[in-house]
């Protein structure tokens, strides 16, 4: 029974949005350019986000968490605000959720007892998810990493790319094909057959360390399989919606920065915003950011209500993927030559913005 529709934030949602926005404003906006150039963000900013307790809230009290449950809608708000600051920061800060949420929702009691308590500590706990593969037109439903059952173990073989913090992650969830479907497997640090490569270099996400991870007859106990054959479908809806939320955040950042610039920058004696060619790009950015956000909210609403959100999450992601590309391109174009220089953040939005359409599952709601 779905009673009402609402486009307005609740007080709780508003408060969370404000909190994260302020955190980003105070800790990320001024620092991010240097983090990006240095290829590493300041972990203190991540720690500050950790201290908001968003990850810990997802964990039931019996495992040491705050037991607040998790709200997919609320998480899209959080992700948009984080990504408004920087995508690398957003992925980094929310990374433990990629491990925690699946365990909370799909895990056996045994798995919960084993893994959840350590995420209730005072310091950020690195854990990650290995999904993407460096193959042409990578299709997550037909990934090439395979799992094979041998006795009471699973043996993993394959190679993943774009695995954030793989070097320090205590645990990672690995997506591998098994019996015709992608499944989730938990692999702990130092498992034999798991090797983490050199840090990757990518078009964007410079402040985020990502790695190629290889599984060579990597053998894990039977009990490390997380959930059943429906688990991946559970996961992908949430990660696709999360990617859409990140796209919304990046696009909004590009929109707001170039809007401000267009009003201030004078050319031929008038602000460039007074030219329709610039003004109409800004108008389009304004409504496309909103459209992206509404599609994201709709997918998150469906997930929150426990409904199947295959369609909604897919549409939100592909829409955000196309539009983030378009809007971050507009941002650079509006700034012209200045937009091409790394001094202005539209350059970073452009590089990061290209990844929404290209990648799967860098975050979760």
């Amino acid at each position: 029974m779905v009673e009402e529709i609402s486009f307005a934030l609740s007080e709780e949602q508003q408060m969370m949005q404000d909190t994260v926005r302020q955190l980003v404003q105070a800790n990320v906006i001024d620092a991010i350019h240097q983090w990006d150039e240095n290829r590493l963000l300041d972990k203190q900013a991540v720690q500050k986000f950790w201290e908001l307790g968003i990850i810990q809230s997802m964990i039931p009290e019996e495992y040491g968490g705050y037991g607040m449950g998790s709200s997919p809608v609320l998480h899209t708000l959080v992700l948009e605000e984080l990504a408004f600051g920087d995508m690398a920061f957003a992925v980094y800060a929310m990374l433990p959720a990629l491990f925690v949420l699946p365990v909370v929702n799909l895990g056996s009691t045994e798995q919960k007892e084993k893994y959840l308590p350590e995420f209730c500590k005072e310091s950020f706990v690195p854990a990650t998810l290995a999904v993407n593969e460096l193959s042409v037109g990578f299709d997550v439903w037909n990934c090439e990493t395979k799992a094979e059952k041998k006795g009471n173990t699973y043996v993993l073989n394959g190679k993943k790319c774009f695995v954030p913090l793989a070097d320090e992650a205590k645990h990672m969830i690995v997506i591998a094909h098994y019996e015709g479907n992608p499944h989730l497997f938990i692999v702990d640090k130092d498992t034999k057959g798991l090797s983490v490569g050199e840090r990757e270099k990518n078009c964007g996400w410079w402040a985020l360390p990502t790695f190629e991870v290889t599984f060579e007859n990597c053998t894990i106990p039977e009990i490390n399989k997380l959930g059943d054959e429906t688990a991946f479908n559970w996961l992908i809806q949430r990660t696709r919606t999360a990617m859409a939320a990140i796209g919304t955040g990046i696009s909004r950042a590009s929109y707001e920065y170039s809007k401000k610039y267009a009003k201030e920058r004078q050319q031929f004696g008038e602000p460039i915003a007074s030219r329709q060619s610039i003004a109409f790009m800004i108008a389009e950015m304004a409504y496309e950011v909103d459209a992206m956000r509404l599609l994201t909210w709709k997918a998150a609403s469906a997930i929150e209500l426990g409904m199947d959100a295959n369609r909604e999450s897919f549409l939100a992601k592909i829409y955000a993927g196309e539009m983030t590309m378009k809007l971050t391109d507009y941002g650079v174009q509006i700034l012209g030559g200045h937009g091409y220089i790394r001094d202005h953040p539209v350059e970073r939005y452009y590089r990061n913005g290209r990844s929404i359409a290209i990648c799967e599952a860098m975050a979760i709601i």
Partner: protein, 398 residues
């Protein structure tokens, strides 16, 4: 609290309206496209139904916080855009031909006094704004209304009047004082048959052919003084004009939902046709690893959803007494443009089936195009949005 899953009561409304559209409009869609301008008599069944009504005034002593009003707000605007989307899934030109549901009716309901409501409330009312010399430039109206005792004398020419032939009265925009600019523009109810009020001709159009768009000439047309809608006084501000323009904040989401309805019709038809050929659409894969039709189709489906959500938001805001000028233009700008892009892409994917009049796809490609033009072109909507978000005046951003 954000909640965008379609509520059950809206689903029920959608289902009911969809049945109506499917059962009544679709079967006669092609017929009246071909019989350009002919009144679709099948629509007489809707004549009795009050499509538009003024909210009842509260009786004296009636509590303003009765039990009913405590329920969450289920506003008329959202219901309206939902209904219109379904109807235009059926046929947009037929929706524009619904008896007594003209734009003029909306204007009369909004601002008529009781005496005027008595006289015109039950009549089919068209709206006459545009002139040959002024398209999007409503402030440049040259039709004049001159007072002559108990009468107004109107002179001018009006084009693009929807329901020109079928309507019984026409709400005509005219200036009572050219020097006053926008402040001098007022609207007047002119009854058919008034001497000096002539329907010159009906337009042959690219699409929405069932709708009778026409041109009126007013030549010393004399109407009662009391036929002026709203305050006759010319105030030295443009508040009055802005008030008139505000009606468009409400009509823009309606046009956006019309656009959404047509686009959805095309998208659904394309899917059905390709499913018959064995294609499956399952919302899962990577966009690169599918057929060309699937890729295009998913992107169109996402865009239809975006059009709908922007439209619903604008309507929901109106229902919740929020100022939605910006959001109304956003919905119209997006939906108007993409309806054309989507319907033409569908026809392209369909091939000859998208060009022959044996199917409706080519009609949707024609009908949808008006959505980016009337009630303010896409260019005008982008201007409104840009001025709003950039906080620039119409002088700073032309």
């Amino acid at each position: 609290m954000i909640q965008l899953v379609t509520p059950d009561y809206i689903k029920t409304l959608q289902d009911n309206m969809h049945k109506l559209a499917e059962g009544v409009l679709r079967p006669i869609s092609r017929k009246y496209d071909e019989a350009e301008h002919e009144y679709p008599k099948e629509l007489d069944m809707f004549r009795g139904i009050k499509v538009m009504a003024r909210p009842k005034k509260k009786k004296e002593g009636e509590s303003s916080t009765s039990g009913e009003e405590k329920k969450p707000k289920r506003g008329a605007n959202l219901g309206m855009v939902v209904t219109i989307e379904e109807m235009c899934w059926g046929d947009a030109a037929l929706l524009l031909s619904f008896p007594n549901a003209g734009l003029g009716n909306a204007a009369i309901l909004a601002v008529a006094n009781d005496e005027q409501l008595e006289r015109f409330g039950n009549k089919w009312a068209a709206m006459a704004i545009t002139e040959p010399g002024a398209g999007s430039d409503s402030g440049a109206i040259t039709t004049t209304a001159t007072r002559d005792g108990d009468y107004w004398i109107l002179n001018g020419e009006k084009i693009f009047v929807t329901c020109a032939d079928r309507s019984e009265v026409v709400v005509v925009w005219a200036t009572v004082d050219k020097k006053a600019g926008k402040a001098g523009i007022k609207s007047f109810v002119v009854e058919k048959g008034t001497p000096g009020f002539t329907l010159e001709h009906l337009e042959h159009k690219l699409g929405i052919r069932a709708s009778d768009t026409g041109t009126f000439v007013l030549s010393d047309c004399r109407i009662p003084y009391n036929n002026i809608l709203g305050d006759p006084e010319v105030k030295m501000s443009t508040e009055g004009f802005k008030g008139v323009m505000k009606t468009f904040d409400n009509t823009r989401p309606l046009v956006a939902s019309m656009a959404t309805g047509i686009a959805r019709a095309a998208v659904e038809f394309t899917r059905e046709q390709y499913e018959k050929k064995g294609y499956a659409f399952d919302y899962k894969k990577n966009l690169s690893n599918v057929s060309a039709v699937e890729r295009e189709w998913y992107l169109m489906d996402a865009n239809v959803e975006a059009m709908r959500l922007l439209t619903w938001r604008a309507a929901w805001m109106a229902d919740n007494n929020q100022f939605n000028n910006l959001e109304a233009s956003m919905a119209k700008a997006k939906a108007g443009r993409y309806a054309t892009l989507i319907t033409q892409r569908c026809s392209e994917l369909l091939g000859p089936v998208g060009y022959s009049t044996q199917y409706l796809a080519e009609k949707w490609m024609r009908d949808s195009k008006i959505m980016d033009i009337f009630e303010g072109t896409g260019q005008i909507q982008h201007l409104i949005i840009a001025r709003n978000v950039l906080e620039m005046s119409s002088k700073e951003l032309k």
